[in-house]
């Protein structure tokens, strides 16, 4: 073998002669990025990404086709090279058309892989769907019931008919796993030995505890109430979040191994200093907004005038405050709607919500307002309380004096504040009043110790915490959730607490924070107006599934849940409505990876705006989206059967294809190698519809279970599910080649028809049994036969599909335990 000596990036390399620069670099573990390269093949239209500098040569050279020669001095990165790569990638980006992530995913405050869990539902993988949700949201049961559903507002299906009922699907998978007693087995990192105190057992506290525990820390939750849940338990009553569901949800989190101290009020029973003295490395404050803003009108200090938070808490605790037959609710926020609906359930005949603006301007979510209206709440709008007095009577105990309001002149920002209309007083008579004017974290300052008192607060009486680091002004004390932001949705509390958990982890471990996920994203159109309707050619109108709901006149009589949840069939049908906007090649796209690596700014280069080509699903196993094709031809080059052709009618002035065709020839054997070699999402496996984003994917190398060729395969596992199967091009005996079975035929692993329990025939029917019963029964019968007819009256068939170890044990069993050579297998069958 003759060799050449050359230098790459300063390293002296001796290489076999006759190789290209790219091959030499790869063998020396030097990465030169390429888009179109397939080992042993040369593209007719090189992508131009693999350029390098060779000393003494003016032009950059393509490393994939330049032979490595004696004495070459090669540089693989420089400003000039990067600029060239940027330019080449930019040209491709200009016309690349598709979404990296789906709009639902991008809109979700939690950045949940929404399309992913919907796809899991469509495939019947509910457990995996729930685990995927819980990667980013540990409260799927609650959020699945009360979320304002930011995602659904951006669902592209709106441009066809109605958005996908995303949140109902989230609730479905959570409920399904509960009713099927699924052990989620959520993974935890190695134990760190660090102790962290979480103050407050509501959405923020539970979330922080969940993620910190998953990071391997010892977490203790301190909760002032006698039960965990916080706002989930005391802000939403049973008809929104049933208690058994909430308890199950909390239990799912605690099962990770979290200590809980109940009835421990911060500042009274313990202090931050005390926690630090006990050895806690960090403290998380997730105390929420437990203080109601009081009603500031004359006569408000009256036993029949309640504050929303404390009223709901009383009812949640099973106390039944006397609210009489008529009640007024003052305020228009979400809590006010909960209060109105709770009053109706308590048997109050007439509930009136009083708000100084129009209904449309209420801060409550319109969906919540509609529910309250349906259940009989009345609204007295453009009115504001001025005075409360007692009537002295047994009924209509209170007299509430109101003033009519109108909207004033717009201020500098265009807001029109309501102002009283002089002389328009109006009086109503009620038995009780509940004010819901908003909530704050603390009245004055936190108390109990020096550190408590020193915690800086915002002007809105919430905790001041750095939005990036989650840190308060007290070292080692972090805060998140409503306690920082004021009242927000549960998912927003989850998001901020998740971020805080990551910050705390970095703080206690003295490590850098995990880098934020790149925001690089191709989009078919950021706003609805930008989305070309051609995207939906061939999509038929199919309205969303109707959530089974108890009629308002009945459900408002009790505290039972109003919305009953999707059935499995409904969930499957609803999941199938998903348009799967996001790219199923998210995890493997080289165009994205290289663009990020080389700082290509696609907002500057621009990207495709209309679908030039329809999606082609005519192949049995593969879906083709030519709009994503960058003409790298890796599919064609990697096809070992010469069964795929990528062609263009012509090329534009920048070398991009016009009139692109990707054709599977008649000799295609559906082995799918082209898909695994696609540099973008132009080729997709029909069955692999779950985009894989930041989830942990484990590659497990194994041997194909089909024919005797012994092909080496890689099982890509997420959670407990084999997502897809690929092969390593460098591994004998198949060197990356697989057949249609080897790459696609693995769905049987997760088949619902798999046997899950031992069976014993009783009264001529196979019934489920325990392993002990099955073993004992089988052993007794075999021993009886052996005793009566001798060992050769028993025969065994071994299995040519099972492992060597198992075949060995089977024959050993027959020869030792039974004592016969009546052992054979199906090799001849």
């Amino acid at each position: 073998m003759t060799t050449v000596k050359l230098t790459i990036d300063g390293a002296e390399i001796v290489a076999e002669s006759g190789l290209t620069i790219l091959e030499v670099a790869r063998r020396s573990d030097i990465t030169i990025p390429t888009l179109c390269h397939v080992e042993g093949k040369a593209s007719s239209d090189p992508c131009g990404v693999c350029v390098v500098e060779v000393a003494g040569q003016e032009e950059l050279v393509y490393s994939c086709r330049t032979p490595a020669e004696q004495g070459m001095v090669i540089t693989t990165t420089s400003d000039r090279i990067v600029a060239h790569r940027q330019k080449r990638l930019g040209v491709l980006a200009e016309t690349h058309f598709g979404d990296c992530k789906a709009p639902c995913n991008l809109t979700c405050p939690g950045q949940i892989n929404v399309q992913g869990y919907i796809a899991h539902v469509a495939k019947g993988q509910y457990e995996e769907a729930l685990r995927l949700v819980m990667e980013r949201n540990p409260l799927p049961f609650s959020v699945g019931r009360v979320c304002p559903r930011f995602c659904e507002t951006r669902c592209r299906r709106i441009l066809v008919d109605e958005p996908v009922s995303i949140n109902h699907l989230k609730r479905f998978v959570a409920d399904w796993c509960m009713s099927h007693e699924i052990q989620l087995d959520i993974p935890k990192e190695a134990h760190t030995g660090k102790r962290i105190a979480v103050i407050g057992g509501g959405p923020a506290g539970l979330t922080a505890a969940y993620y910190l525990t998953r990071k391997g820390h010892d977490v203790t939750i301190y909760e002032a109430a006698s039960k965990l849940g916080g706002a989930l338990r005391y802000g939403f009553l049973e008809f929104r979040i049933p208690r058994d569901v909430l308890d199950y949800e909390i239990d799912t989190i605690l099962r990770l191994g979290i200590s809980v101290k109940l009835n421990q009020r911060w500042g009274r029973d313990f202090t931050i200093q005390g926690l630090k003295d006990q050895g806690f490395s960090a403290v998380f404050l997730g105390t929420g907004v437990g203080v109601d803003i009081p009603l500031d009108v004359e006569g408000a200090f009256n036993p029949h005038v309640h504050k929303a938070g404390s009223y709901l808490r009383q009812v949640a605790n099973g106390r039944n405050p006397d609210m009489g037959r008529r009640a007024a609710v003052i305020g228009g926020n979400n809590v006010a709607m909960e209060v109105a609906r709770t009053l109706i359930r308590q048997g109050v005949d007439e509930v009136t919500v009083i708000y100084p603006r129009a209904r449309i301007e209420m801060p409550a979510h319109q969906r919540n307002i509609r529910e309250a209206v349906k259940e009989g709440a009345q609204f007295l709008l453009m009115a504001s309380p001025v005075k409360i007095s007692e009537t002295g009577g047994e009924y209509s105990r209170l007299q509430l004096e109101l003033v009519r309001m109108k909207l004033g002149e717009p201020d500098s920002r265009g807001n029109r504040e309501p102002i009283p209309i002089e002389g328009t007083s109006n009086t109503i008579q009620v038995d009780s009043i509940v004010s819901s004017l908003g909530q704050i974290a603390v009245n004055d300052v936190f108390t109990g110790g020096e550190l408590e008192e020193s915690i800086q607060l915002s002007p809105r009486q919430t905790i001041q915490a750095n939005p990036r680091s989650s840190q308060t002004n007290v070292d080692g004390v972090f805060a998140a959730g409503d306690a920082v932001s004021g009242p927000k949705s549960v998912i927003q509390a989850v998001v901020s607490a998740r971020r805080a958990a990551n910050n705390i982890d970095a703080y206690v471990m003295g490590a850098d924070k995990e880098p934020a996920e790149s925001r690089f994203n191709f989009s078919r159109g950021k706003a609805f107006d930008d989305v070309d309707l051609k995207n939906f050619d061939g999509v038929n109108v199919k309205l969303r599934e109707k959530m089974p709901t108890r009629p308002p006149e009945i459900c408002s009589q009790d505290f039972g849940e109003v919305k009953l949840g999707f059935t499995e069939k409904m969930a499957r049908r609803e999941a199938e409505r998903c348009l799967s906007c996001g790219c199923s090649a998210f995890d493997r796209c080289d165009l994205k990876r290289l663009s990020i690596d080389n700082n290509v700014n696609i907002n500057k280069t621009g990207m495709g705006t209309i679908p030039v080509y329809p999606t082609d699903a005519s192949h049995a196993m593969i879906v083709v989206d030519r709009n994503k094709c960058v003409f790298c031809k890796r599919c064609e080059l990697s096809c070992e059967y010469d069964a795929l052709e990528v062609a263009a009618e012509s090329l534009d002035d920048k070398g991009r294809p016009l009139g692109l065709t990707i054709t599977f020839k008649d000799n295609c054997v559906s082995c799918g190698k082209c898909v695994d070699n696609c540099s973008t999402g132009a080729l997709n496996k029909k069955a692999q519809i779950v985009p894989m984003q930041s989830e942990v994917i484990t590659d497990v190398r194994s041997t194909c279970p089909y024919c005797g060729a012994g092909c080496q395969i890689i099982l890509r596992v997420k959670g407990k599910t084999v997502m897809e199967v690929t092969a390593d091009p460098h591994q004998a005996p198949n060197y990356g080649a697989l057949c249609v079975k080897g790459r696609f035929g693995h769905e049987f692993i997760h088949s619902k028809e798999r046997l899950t329990k031992p069976l014993i025939r009783k009264n001529n029917v196979l019934v489920e049994a325990s392993w002990d019963e099955a073993y004992d029964y089988a052993a007794r019968r075999l021993k009886d036969i052996k005793a009566m007819y001798g060992p050769d009256s028993i025969a065994g068939f071994s299995c040519a599909r099972a492992t060597n170890e198992e075949n060995f044990l089977m024959q050993k069993f027959m020869r030792t335990s039974i004592g016969t050579n009546n052992i054979d297998h199906c090799a001849r069958l």
């Binding site: 070992e640 054997v669 559906s670 069955a687 484990t698 194994s702 279970p705 089909y706 012994g710 099982l715 004998a732 005996p733 249609v740 079975k741 080897g742 035929g745 693995h746 049987f748 692993i749 088949s751 028809e753 798999r754 046997l755 899950t756 031992p758 069976l759 014993i760 025939r761 099955a774 089988a778 019968r781 075999l782 052996k786 007819y789 050769d792 009256s793 028993i794 025969a795 065994g796 068939f797 071994s798 299995c799 040519a800 198992e806 075949n807 060995f808 044990l809 024959q811 050993k812 069993f813 020869r815 335990s817 004592g819 016969t820 050579n821 054979d824 297998h825 090799a827 001849r828 069958l829």
Partner: protein, 537 residues
């Protein structure tokens, strides 16, 4: 092959295919049964290797072949003997090899002398000209010539005779023990090789030590602390008669579905109905499991650790990727626990412990450990810890010393077409499906690709019976009948009908014959006589 060479495994390696100058494929449509191996053969042919195909069916190999012998079904021995005769007559044989490395050549010469081209043509339908061309191509002195065969050769009542005749031919031409040569059976299932190696056989202990070998028995008995039975056992295919004759009362079926798989399946069902007690251990409730008294739910390949040995004798790792569903357990664990209940303790905490025992007992595996095959499998024999494995068997010397020529006479298939059942049925595979479909048919896209069984029938026969594509027919043998649609194609030889066996709704083994090879006890899946009649859709 074991008798001819001392080892019955593929003699060469898959990677070796690119070294071959001539490839003879007999009774294998590797494109459907071993697609990645088929691919390598096609690639070798594209790169200049000559291809000789013996197959009654027009396969993709047949289309590509330099010579395609469309011999009559079941006539392989006559054809191979005829080829040997031509090779001897034309002095194309490797005299040096035969002299130095083989014995019993004289016998071969005597037996094959009878197979004149005329006689061969009568039996096989192959003309003298084609026969001679094929013989010359395979013999090509000095060239590397490989033989690949599949179940098309073995699944006959004369299966072992076929195989011995192939071995004779390879030795005669000196194609053994060289890269790009050899005799290469393609194993049908992922671990047939391993199951045989491990002694899941009625006539040998692990490692092919026959039941008559006392030294080996002593070693096993010492290791296992038990007295082992030395009586010959019953082959799987003999068990049904044994049940019906009250010899066998209990059956332990591990991962098999004889109700669908066995030839003349009605016969098997009848036996199972009579059986006193049956355990089935499987991943699905198979047709056989439905008849069991106890069913043990097992883990599938992705749910356990272990090794498979593929057709090129390469021992490779299987790794656990996910948990088994519900309470299902890995088979090794079931054996361990059940054996305990039966009163014989098996102390293994993991599959690797079992493997270590295997390597202590079996010299072929002696040098293999999980650590050594972590990245890439090793090909046995690999007797010592520093042995690199054996890509090519019989280099310089046969495993048993000298190769033994065992000439066999042609015998006609047990059942041949007659007036009542005028056509030959042969069972085949489709690429996307596997065995009885319990695995592949769970993938919807594969089902779409290959959703139903079609009876493939030659245009001549179609015309005669009055059939067009997609007509519905009833195919009947003396043992049973199935209904399905037809595909009219010249892939099938005139007078034959081919039906894939993957589909439970078309249980084609209700038709096949349980006539067995006298040595290996392999059934004659590939030939039985049937009639084909059109029925209403």
């Amino acid at each position: 092959m074991a008798i001819s060479f001392g080892s019955g495994a593929m003699t060469n390696s898959i990677g070796d295919i690119r070294e071959s100058e001539v490839i003879m494929v007999i009774g294998s449509n590797a494109d459907t049964s071993h697609p990645t191996i088929g691919l390598r053969i096609h690639q070798a042919v594209k790169n200049g290797a000559k291809l000789l195909v013996v197959d009654p069916r027009r396969t993709a190999f047949a289309d590509e072949a330099d010579i395609w012998l469309r011999s009559n079904p079941g006539s392989d021995v006559a054809l191979l003997n005829g080829m040997a005769r031509v090779i001897i007559e034309e002095e194309l044989w490797d005299k040096d090899f035969v002299e130095k490395r083989t014995e019993n050549f004289e016998e071969l010469e005597i037996v094959t002398a009878k197979y004149t081209p005329e006689m061969v043509e009568k039996i096989t339908g192959i003309s003298e000209e084609q026969l001679r061309a094929a013989a010359r191509l395979y013999a090509s002195p000095g060239k590397r010539c490989a033989i690949f065969y599949g179940m098309g050769l073995a699944h006959h009542a004369s299966g072992t005779d076929n195989v011995k005749s192939v071995a004779n031919l390879a030795m005669l031409c000196g194609k053994m023990g060289v890269a790009g040569g050899g005799v290469n059976p393609l194993r049908g299932q992922n671990n047939v090789q391993g199951a045989c190696d491990m002694g899941a056989l009625f006539n040998t202990l692990p490692g092919y030590s026959g039941l008559e070998n006392d030294d080996v028995f002593d070693r096993y008995e010492k290791m296992w602390q038990v007295t082992l039975p030395r009586r010959k056992g019953k082959a799987a295919t003999e068990v049904w008669d044994a049940i019906l004759e009250d010899e066998i009362h209990g059956l332990y079926v591990f991962g098999e579905d004889p109700v669908l798989a066995d030839p003349n399946a009605h016969h098997a069902v009848k036996a199972l109905e009579k059986l006193n007690f049956m355990i089935v251990q499987d991943i699905f409730l198979t047709e056989t499991a439905k008849m069991a008294d106890v069913v043990f739910p097992a883990a599938c390949y992705a749910e356990k650790d272990g090794t498979f040995t593929c057709t090129e004798r390469r021992v490779q790792r299987v790794r656990k990727a996910v948990n088994p569903p519900g309470e299902a357990k890995p088979d090794w664990q079931i054996f361990k626990e059940f054996s305990q209940r039966m009163g014989y303790a098996m102390n293994y905490s993991k599959p690797e412990d079992v493997f270590d025992e295997v390597t202590q007992l079996m010299p072929q595996y002696g040098g293999i450990t999980y650590a050594r095959i972590e990245k890439e499998g090793l090909q046995w024999p690999c007797p010592t810890a520093d042995h690199p494995g054996t890509p090519i068997l019989h280099v310089g010397k046969f495993t048993q010393g000298r190769g033994l020529f065992i000439p066999e006479e042609y015998t006609a298939p047990t059942e041949m077409p007659d007036g009542e059942y005028p056509m030959i049925l042969t069972t085949i595979r489709e690429t996307p499906q596997y065995n009885f479909g319990s695995m592949t048919r769970q993938t919807p896209e594969i089902e779409n690709l290959c959703p139903e069984a079609f009876a493939e029938i030659n245009p001549e026969d179609a015309l005669r019976i009055g059939l067009v594509d997609l007509d519905r027919v009833e195919v009947t043998s003396r043992r049973g009948s199935v209904r399905l649609r037809v595909k009219v194609t010249d892939k099938s030889q005139p007078g034959t009908v081919a039906i894939p066996y993957h589909f439970a709704e078309v249980p084609v083994n209700n038709l096949t014959l349980n006539s067995l090879d006298r040595l290996s006890r392999s059934p004659q899946y590939k030939i039985c006589s049937v009639k084909v009649e059109k029925v209403a859709a």
